[in-house]
Each structure stands twice: as structure tokens, then as C-alpha cells.
Amino acid sequence: MAGYALYVLRRFGQFLLVVFVGINIAFFVTHATPIDPITSAIAAATRFSQADPQAVQMTRVALRELYGLQGSLWEQYVAFWMRVARADFGPALSAFPTPVSTLIWRALPWTFGLLSVATLIAWGLGNLLGGLAGYYRRNVMLKVFGVVASGLQPIPNYVMAFVVLVLFGYVWPILPITGSAQINLAQGWTFAYFHSVFQHALLPVLSLVLVGTGAWFIGMRALVSNIVTEDYVTYAELGGVDHRRILLSYVMRNALMPQVTGLALSLGLIFNGAVITEVVFGYPGLGNLLIRAVYAGDYSLVIGIASMSIIAVAFAALVIDLILPLLDPRVRVA
């Protein structure tokens, strides 16, 4: 027990170090970009409008002060960490003075909903069918499914997104292809709203599931194919144990351990957003927000999203590392 406690402390220290280093990298990389948010703001304001050159010079100076971008890099770095310590990433430069955290919390539920559902469906479907395919190696339908899943898996997300979009938005237009809910439908805890959200999520989820299922299927099939050759499985079969019981309790249960680890990591990666899927379907999640922040040179917002993603992934890894020794006695902590 003492060994485990020590392990927890050590591992938590690693987590803090990873987060600290990750956020620092995000800060310096975004500040190293040649995109100056002040120049971006002026370019956006003057690209189609008349501009008084003298006035523009005055605006530059004033904006630098307003956005808090005056001072050396070190001064900005210290000010940044003082704000982060209060969980404040400052105002978004592309939506000044709206705080970065407000924009992130607004987008997060959409990304979380979309990706968690897609990930769980892909994981569940892939592991179920992969497990069956690994055990019932002669079944034709499972073989066909295996070929289809393996074929779809390497297809890039953006290609699959456009395929389903064209198929169900144009060739057979039965599903909405843009937005998170019906236009002019008030947000609220109503059946109509949830029904609309469900409909609008179908295509993005479908595109992610079609591509994502293959990897889980292949992995689970390989794991099960190995496990069925284990002595204890052979012994159970020879002993006349029911095939159903062997499949579920002896084979799939053991094969699931690494897949559960993978699932936890995948769920952590949700906070990266699915940039291409969200842009293609106009889904208002973190990926969409991130791409707009990058184009606008809004490094406050980029750092905010990146930091949250770093914390989420590191936390997911931490949780797995802490739980695994408790579940699997073969894992040693000291």
C-alpha cells in the first residue's frame, strides 16, 4: 500500500511537470509565430475599407496597450502564468474583450458530445465485431465486415466527411449537412431541440465512426486471435465449457484490457477537437474554434485551447496509470 501511495505521488508529480512543460511550449510556439494579432486586426479592418495611414499608426499603438501585448516577452510570460494560476487565459484577441475561457466552455460541450459519442460507438462496435471475428474465424459475414472496416480505416477523415456529406446531403438529401441544430430553433431542454441536435450530429458522427471502427476492429481481432491460442482457453474448450462462456468470460474480457486503456486515451484526446469534421459540418466545437483562432493570429485563444487539451490528455493518462495497477495484479508499481 505504501508502495502504491509513493507511486501515486511520483506519477502526480510527472503529471504536473508534463502540464507545465506542455503549456510553456504552447506559449513560446504561439509567440514565435510570425502572425501579429495587431497587424491581423488592422488588416481585417482595412482590407476592404478606406484607411487613414496616420490613424492606423495611432491605432497600432493603442491596440498593443489594449490587448496587453506591450512589454518584453519575459514580461508577457510572467503576466501569462500569473493569470493561468487563476485559471484565466485572458481575453480572446479575435473576440475582444470576451474571455478565452468563455469561448472554450461554449464550444466544449459540442466537441465533447460529438467525439465521446463517436468514440464510444466506434470502440464498442469495433471491439465487439473484432472480438467475434477473432473467435469465429470462419464466419463469412464477419470476414466481409473485416474487409470493409480495414478498407475504410485508412481513409482520411476529411475524405469520409465529404463522402457522407455528398451522399446524404445531395444524392439522397435526408439529413442536415450544416450546423448543430435547426436554424431559428431556440436552445433549451425540449424534445424538439434534442431531436434536432440528434439529426445534425448524425453525419459528423457517422463519418467519424466509419473511419474509427476499423482500428479498434483490427486491434481486437488480433488480440483475440492471440488469446484463443492460450492454454487456459484450450483447456476450457477441452473441458466442455460452453462456447458462449469461453467467448465472453475467457477471451473478450482479457482482450479488452488494452482496449480500455486505448479508450481512456482516446477520450482524453477529445479535447483536441475534430478540426476537419467540425469545419466540414459547421459544428461549433473546439476544432472549429481552434482553426479560427489560428487564422486570426489569436494566440491567447490558441494557448487556452492547447492548454486545456494538454491538461485533459495528461489527466487521462494519469487516471489510467493509477487505476491499472488496481485492476491488474500483474502490473507492478515499485
Binding site: 499608426q57 495611432m58 459475414m141 449537412i177 450546423g179 448543430s180 461549433p284
Partner: protein, 656 residues
């Protein structure tokens, strides 16, 4: 049951027929499920609670608005202005149409009762407002609103987009009666009124009674917006993907009313996503106005959908905006300082190939530093044609006439075999659609000019006078502006083929910033933007005066990003400043500028910014068009879009 289903997989099919049976049953089940599910899913209308034939749906090119609940468009980087906010809600003193204008009047006194009145030396401007105009909350617009707007902007130059402009120009502003405002300027400025004159946008008037209650107006979100325009905000997406505006019941008390009643009861601005989706949405009749799409997308849409059409009934379909894409050369770099070098680069370009590569033939070319749009063919292109034909260059070895007046015709002839009747035959129509002439591609003359400038060709590559290789990097916006990127790629190819090693640097987000900071060599951008409907060139030209030119490598404010300096240019600008906005002498001075720019070639003009706006006539009719009724720009992010509302009428269709 789950266990049984799972373990049924374990049954080994005894023959192929049973295996096939299993597969077919599964597929049939899946198809049936999809069909039933599809029927249930198809029930949702595109919009909730609004009949489709009462709403005009337009694309918002800003995409998803980051903070949609903030409607303060006076701040330096407003969250969303093309959401319908500047088109339908806000308003200002005057509008100049980029095309012919309603009732063939390019100039509209919108909130103002009359044109701006200047004193003799342009140090004072008087504005009279139209009485009886009401804000959407029932308060009348008065001189106090205009005074308040200017004073508020001046007081916080960093907090407001036009704050610094007001602070730099205005000494004092006051209301002399309920509808009259007098501006006293810090220095004479015959074009000060341009600040309140819409060409796409302008300084909007704030409702004093709303903003004065705020502790810090620049931090106020102006939600819901109080409008002076004919529409008010009905609803918006908290995620920023759509905004719906509703016609005011008291529309007669809004500035647009002197043209008539707006047609659409509702106007929705939406983010439709990537170009492919815009095409799909319009084909499904769920998007009435596509703001812009790729040339290929526009051609496919117009061909496949009988109700979709562009600005031109035939090719090139697109609306030529009064903006002039060009190769912007950094004249402060040593290698571009000599006009002979710049001319050589121009003569190496095959504009027909660039047109085909970029716009697939749908470009309106321009050889001179004004866009071939709006009223400019009449004011500048037609009068300049003879001068251009007569214009000569001394290559050092001979004298050439570089101008080919038939380039537009040649492009039309090139396209006719594949596009058939979509290509006009009438020479005037061809000139309007494809442009007049351009410079003949002449590699021999280009080589002579380079030699005249002291360059040498060694081993097939050009060397600068100092012996270094002559290389050029052309910056583009990459996927953000694919048309210009394609043009730039081909130009780089043509220069490389001639012995000048050139490459593309795709910078989707940094190209403009680099240009501002003088870090570019050549850029596929634009430094010329004009009113379109009015011949005055100061919209861009005034900023080209050398008083505003920065040192090499330093921030250059808009718009002299070619960083060109010429005493003759300064003289022209100073003369324009001394005359009235409507003085015909302005056109003569404009032509002097064009001649000077042709001789010096500080940038290489290519074509107008053709916007592939596609309109769907299923639910609405009365859109502007080049041939029938060019009353305004159809591109829906322009504030001038408000003029479309009084012409659009429902077709009566209830479904596609």
C-alpha cells in the same frame, strides 16, 4: 438474447447458399432500417417557425462568428459585421454604389438630407440629417447621435476602429440645431466625408441614448442591437452560425423607405461552410445567395440548377468587385527599384494563361491601376484605350508598343468552343465581361529591358548587376484564396521559364502581415480599391502619398504596400486634395495617375476581384444583374446589400 445473437455467428454455414442468405438478410435489414429512419429524419425543415418563402437566406462569408452575442461593430476587431448587422441594421450618412445605384443614382443621401457641404478651403464640413428617421426602439435620430458618435470615437482611439481617424482629423464637432452638425477639421480635407460614406462599410452612427448609459462604450456588447436600418434582430445562434433579421413594422421611418418597402419579411445570414457545401445547399434551395465559391463550383451550380444565376447571365457569371488583384512588388527592394525590371516582369506574363489557371477564363482583366468595374469602363478604360495603344517602351534596343487591345476578345474566342452561347459576341459585352486589353507577352523585349537595367543572363539564368542570382518569392494566401494562389503559381512558372528563379510561398494567415511589415518580395494581393460607382480615386490613392511611406522593413499603413514613391504622384494627389469630390477635374487627374503608373509599373495589375455570387430565384426575384438591372453589387456582405431588399419580391413558391 444478446448472447444468442452473438453466438449465432458461431454457426458455420454448411453451404455457400446459407452464407449468402445471411449476408442478404443483413443487408436487407440495414436498408430497410435506413429507409424508415430516413423518412423520419426527413421531416425537419431547414428553418424552424418561419415559412421558407418569407425568408431570404444569404451566406455570411465571415463563417462562424466567434462571439455572436457581441454586436459592437465600432471596436477594432468586431465579432461579426457581415451577419446582416452592417447590411440591415446600421446606417450612416451617405452611400456610393459600386455599380449603377437604385434609380441610376450612384450616390444616396441615406441618413443625410443632402451631400456634405464644405467651406472654401475644406476645413469645415456641415451635415444636414433627414428628419423623421427612427431608431428601432422608437427614438428619433438627431444631430446629437452624430455628435455623440464622433466624440465617443475620438475619446478612445484604441478602443474604436475609427477612433484614431476621428482624433486625427476632427478638431471639434457640434450640433447647431436638431438636424445639423458642423465639423471643424484640424487640417483641410476635401474627402473627410468619405469616413461616413459607405463603400462596403463606413463609420456607423451610434444611438446616443443607448451608448451614453454605458460606463465603457467600447466594452458594451450592444445586445440586442438598436437599429436605424429597416430590420431588427429576431434571433441568433449562440454558437455563431446564423443570424435572422426581421423587417420593422415601422420600416417607413427608416432611411431605405424613400426607395420603397423591403420585400423579404426575414433575412437570414448563415455560415454554410466550405465551397462544396454552399453549392449543395443552393441546389437543395436552402441558400438563396452564395456569397462566393470557386469558379468550378459556380459553373457546376449554374449549369445544373435552372434557378441559379450569376451577375452576368452568361460567362463569366461573376461580379467584378471594385478591387484590383495584382502582383504587388516591394519597390524598396534593390532588385525592383528599376522600372525597366518591373516592366520586364510584366512582359513575361501570359495573361490568358493566368486567367485560365486562376479563374478558368472568368476573369475581367485590367492592364491599368483601376479595376474594370462599375462606372470605370466609362470614366477610365474607354478614354484611355487610344493612349494605351499609342504607348511605347524603349527596351534599349528598340521601341515597342506593348499593349494588345484585343486581349479580352482573344480570351472570349478561346472559351467559345467549350462554352458556346454562354460567351457574348458583342464587342461591348465582351469588354464588359472579360476586359479590354493587356500587355502582350514578349520575352524578347523583357530580356532587352533586363539587359538595359544592367542584368546579365549567365547559363540561362538572370543575374543582378551585383552578380547575385535574380530570384523572386511570390507570397500567396494559399488555400484561403485559391484563385490568386493559382495565378501566382503560374506567374512564378512563367518567370522561371524566362530564367528568373521564382517560387511560391503560401502564407494563408501571414501574407498581409508580411506586406504590412515590408517582409515581402512580391505578393498576390491588391493595393487598389475604388468606389466603383464614383470616379474619385482617393479611396486608395491618397494613402500612396510619400508622406505616409515608411522606411524599408518597417510597418507600412494601408495602402501603399508596393512602397512606391514618385514626386509626380505626390503632385497629382495634392491636386486632387484641393478640389471638390465631384469636380470633373478629378477624372483628368485620375488619368494622369494611370499614365504615371503605366510608365513606372510599380505593381502589375491583373484583373478585377471577381466574386462568384450565385443567386437562386426559386423563392425570390429581383436580384441585381449586369444586363437587366445593375442597381447594386449582389455580393451580400456589402452594406450596400440593403438596396437589394427593396427590389426583391417573393415568387410565391411554397416549395422547390
Amino acid at each position: 438474447m444478446i448472447r444468442k445473437v452473438l453466438c449465432d455467428f458461431g454457426e458455420r454455414p454448411t453451404d455457400r447458399r446459407r452464407a449468402l442468405d445471411q449476408i442478404l438478410k443483413t443487408l436487407a435489414l440495414a436498408a430497410g432500417g435506413l429507409a424508415l429512419g430516413g423518412q423520419a429524419l426527413a421531416a425537419e425543415d431547414f428553418l424552424a417557425g418561419i415559412p421558407r418563402n418569407q425568408v431570404l437566406i444569404a451566406e455570411n462569408p465571415e463563417g462562424t462568428v466567434t462571439d455572436p452575442s457581441n454586436f459592437n461593430l465600432w471596436v477594432p476587431k468586431p465579432n461579426g459585421t457581415s451577419t446582416g448587422l452592417q447590411q440591415l441594421c446600421t446606417d450612416t450618412l451617405w452611400y456610393i454604389d459600386p455599380d449603377q445605384g437604385l434609380n441610376n443614382q450612384v450616390w444616396d443621401n441615406s441618413l443625410a438630407a443632402d451631400k456634405p457641404q464644405y467651406n472654401k478651403d475644406f476645413s469645415e464640413m456641415t451635415v444636414k440629417l433627414r428628419p423623421g428617421l427612427m431608431w428601432s426602439d422608437g427614438v428619433e435620430l438627431t444631430a446629437d447621435d452624430l455628435v455623440y458618435t464622433v466624440q465617443t470615437l475620438m475619446a478612445d482611439p484604441g478602443g474604436f476602429n475609427d477612433g484614431a481617424r476621428m482624433a486625427a482629423n476632427v478638431d471639434s464637432v457640434s450640433a447647431t440645431d436638431k438636424y445639423t452638425v458642423v465639423f471643424k477639421l484640424k487640417k483641410p480635407n476635401s474627402r473627410f466625408h468619405a469616413a461616413f460614406t459607405v463603400r462596403w462599410s463606413a463609420t456607423w452612427i451610434m444611438p446616443k441614448h443607448v451608448f451614453e448609459k454605458q460606463a465603457k462604450p467600447s466594452k458594451y456588447d450592444f445586445n440586442p442591437p438598436v437599429c436605424i436600418g429597416s430590420y431588427t434582430l429576431k434571433s441568433f445562434d449562440p454558437n455563431g452560425t446564423w443570424f435572422i433579421w426581421q423587417k420593422r413594422d415601422d420600416w417607413q421611418k427608416t432611411p431605405l423607405a424613400h426607395f420603397g418597402e423591403p420585400g423579404p419579411k426575414y433575412v437570414a445570414y448563415i455560415d454554410p461552410g466550405p465551397p462544396d457545401k454552399r453549392v449543395i445547399l443552393q441546389q437543395n434551395h436552402q441558400l438563396d445567395i452564395v456569397h462566393d465559391t470557386t469558379p468550378e463550383g459556380a459553373f457546376a451550380l449554374i449549369k445544373s440548377s435552372p434557378t441559379s444565376h450569376g451577375w452576368f447571365a452568361g460567362f463569366p457569371y461573376a461580379h467584378p468587385d471594385p478591387t484590383l488583384p495584382m502582383v504587388v512588388l516591394n519597390n524598396q527592394l534593390e532588385k525592383f527599384k528599376n522600372p525597366d525590371v518591373r516592366w520586364a516582369l510584366a512582359l513575361l506574363i501570359d495573361i490568358k494563361a493566368v486567367d485560365m489557371a486562376s479563374y478558368r477564363g472568368a476573369a475581367t482583366i485590367s492592364a491599368i491601376d483601376v479595376p474594370p468595374t462599375g462606372t470605370y469602363p466609362h470614366y477610365y478604360f474607354d478614354p484611355m484605350e487610344q493612349w494605351l495603344k499609342d504607348f511605347t517602351i524603349d527596351t534599349g534596343k528598340r521601341t515597342i508598343h506593348p499593349y494588345d487591345p484585343n486581349m479580352g476578345q482573344e480570351i472570349a474566342d478561346m472559351l467559345r468552343p467549350s462554352m458556346g452561347d454562354a460567351i457574348p459576341k458583342d464587342p461591348k459585352a465582351i469588354a464588359a465581361a472579360f476586359g479590354h486589353g493587356w500587355w502582350k507577352q514578349d520575352p524578347q523585349a523583357a530580356a532587352e529591358l533586363l539587359e538595359k537595367a544592367g542584368l546579365k543572363k549567365v547559363g540561362g539564368k538572370w543575374m543582378l548587376p551585383d552578380g547575385a542570382p535574380f530570384t523572386i518569392t511570390i507570397s500567396t494566401e494559399g488555400d484561403n484564396r485559391p484563385v490568386m494562389t493559382r495565378a501566382g503559381s503560374l506567374i512564378a512558372q512563367q518567370w522561371t521559364q524566362a530564367g528568373i528563379d521564382s517560387k511560391i510561398d503560401a502564407l494563408p494567415t501571414a501574407m498581409w502581415a508580411n506586406m504590412f511589415n515590408g517582409q515581402n518580395e512580391a505578393s498576390m494581393a491588391w493595393t487598389v480599391e475604388t468606389w466603383g460607382g464614383h470616379p474619385d480615386l482617393t479611396f486608395f490613392l491618397d494613402s500612396w502619398h510619400s508622406q505616409f511611406l515608411s522606411e524599408p522593413g518597417k510597418f507600412q499603413p494601408p495602402r501603399n504596400w508596393q512602397r512606391w514613391k514618385d514626386p509626380e504622384l505626390d503632385k497629382i494627389i495634392e491636386q486632387i486634395r484641393s478640389i471638390d469630390f465631384d469636380d470633373p477635374k478629378g477624372i483628368e487627374l485620375g488619368m494622369d495617375f494611370i499614365r504615371l503608373a503605366v510608365k513606372n509599373m510599380p505593381n502589375i495589375p491583373l484583373m478585377s476581384y471577381n466574386v462568384f455570387t450565385v443567386m437562386d430565384s426559386t423563392y425570390w426575384t429581383g436580384y441585381p444583374s449586369a444586363e437587366k438591372d445593375p442597381y447594386t453589387d449582389p455580393v451580400p456582405n456589402w452594406a450596400n446589400t440593403k438596396y437589394m431588399m427593396v427590389k426583391l419580391r417573393p415568387t410565391g413558391a411554397t416549395s422547390p
